[in-house]
């Protein structure tokens, strides 16, 4: 599946009302580690049709970043059935990201 750009206006529909688990990647253009994590997150989206993958640009979506207390990027959040169930800060290997979604 392709990666969905998440904004304040589609967050409710794409994330909270999703019937699949959602992996959200909070990032910004000026963030080096985000650039390393980004292609791995893209791979996960391509390889796993059972996971919805979304990206939140913290510069464009300061309200969303504030709501989830994002204080360091990249930050990954996992949502299931409208609830945030897991989070991880910083660059982590692909297997750990998949564990985060499954866990």
């Amino acid at each position: 599946m392709s990666v969905v750009t998440i904004t304040e206006s589609n967050f409710e529909k794409e994330v909270l009302q999703s019937d699949k688990p959602v992996l959200l990647d909070f990032w910004a253009t000026w963030c080096g580690p985000c650039k390393m994590l980004s292609p791995v997150v893209d791979q996960i989206a391509e390889e796993n049709s059972a996971i919805k993958v979304g990206k939140v640009n913290v510069d464009d979506e300061q309200e969303l970043a504030g709501r989830f207390n994002i204080m360091s990027i990249p930050t990954l959040l996992v949502f299931k059935n409208g609830q945030m169930v897991n989070q991880s800060v910083g660059v982590i290997p692909k297997e750990r990201i998949l564990q985060l979604v499954e866990g």
């Binding site: 580690p33 650039k35 207390n69 204080m71 360091s72 910083g90």
Partner: protein, 289 residues
């Protein structure tokens, strides 16, 4: 982007020996660290047990090392790597100023860091504690932050943070008088503990408690587990086998980072083994391709 065969982190005896061995094996190398080799070597008094260099002063040993490396045509790229990330068939490395390098294998030869984490540091990492001002400054717009700087090199980071944060405290861990912007408040107290609840709330020093939203801890070296996520440790060292392999395929370690004894000849010897292991790994991968 150029992809090197091997990226070597560190310019002490382990890193330099690895570099010359790989040069002989005709591999492309990116040697990252201080141009003047390791400070630890230069500051050493007389070294009595380095074969071929009897009773040598640290400074002279450093000069001998650097002369050898130069003669072999090995160059040192002056940068400090803040993150190494396995991308599958290569590694991406991030430099201090957000430069990105690529290499097929990585040799960690960056020494062992003496500093213990502050109480609360690991607990609140990413929830107010950060190691990278360039990365996270923009998330602290209008907030109050503390910067703990281990050397004058970190002063620019405190200055940079004033562009975003409403208030920046700077805690120098060294004697020299910091040259920072007027907006930065320099505090000569010793940080003791990071206090929080869900996220950072304050920095406690030997004298006072400072309510802050973020704490930037800027040290000379980052703990290897934070440098390469997923790296298996035997704290404070990196776990390796006799081939200097770590648990991450394509990543090798040598020198003080792998454990005691902290001896120059041991570091150089391990650098040689790590280099040959990296070369064998590259050749094997090429055969498979």
């Amino acid at each position: 982007m150029a992809r090197y065969d091997v990226a070597i982190l560190g310019t002490g005896p382990a890193g330099l020996e690895a570099a010359i061995t790989l040069k002989i094996r005709n591999k492309s190398i990116l040697l990252l660290g201080e141009k003047g080799s390791s400070e630890k070597v230069a500051k050493a008094h007389t070294i009595l047990n380095y074969l071929g260099l009897p009773s040598v002063a640290g400074e002279d040993m450093q000069a001998a090392f650097l002369g050898h490396v130069k003669e072999m045509g090995v160059e040192i790229t002056e940068d400090r790597i803040t993150l190494v990330y396995p991308m599958g068939d290569y590694f991406a490395l991030q430099g201090k100023n957000n430069e990105i390098y690529e290499a097929s294998t990585v040799i960690l030869a960056c020494g062992v860091s003496a500093g213990k984490p502050y109480p609360g540091e690991n607990e609140y990492l990413g929830r107010g504690v950060s190691y990278c001002a360039t990365c996270d400054a923009a998330l602290y717009r209008g907030k109050t932050v503390a910067v703990i700087g281990s050397s004058p090199k970190e002063e620019v980071e405190a200055d940079f943070l004033t562009e975003y944060a409403a208030k920046v405290y700077y805690f120098p861990l060294y004697k020299a008088e910091p040259k920072v912007k007027e907006a930065v408040e320099v505090i000569r107290e010793i940080p003791r503990e990071i206090v929080g609840q869900m996220k950072v709330k304050s920095l406690v020093t030997d004298q006072k408690e400072y309510p802050v939203d973020g704490i930037f801890i800027l040290r000379e070296s980052i703990s290897p587990a934070n440098l390469l996520p997923g790296l298996e440790m035997d704290d404070p060292h990196v776990k390796t086998d006799r081939q200097m392999k770590t648990n991450v395929p394509g990543c090798f370690a040598c020198g003080d980072i792998t454990g005691r004894p902290y001896q120059y000849i041991k570091s150089a010897g391990e650098g040689n083994v790590a280099a040959l292991s990296a070369a064998a790994y590259l050749d094997e991968k090429r055969r498979q391709a």
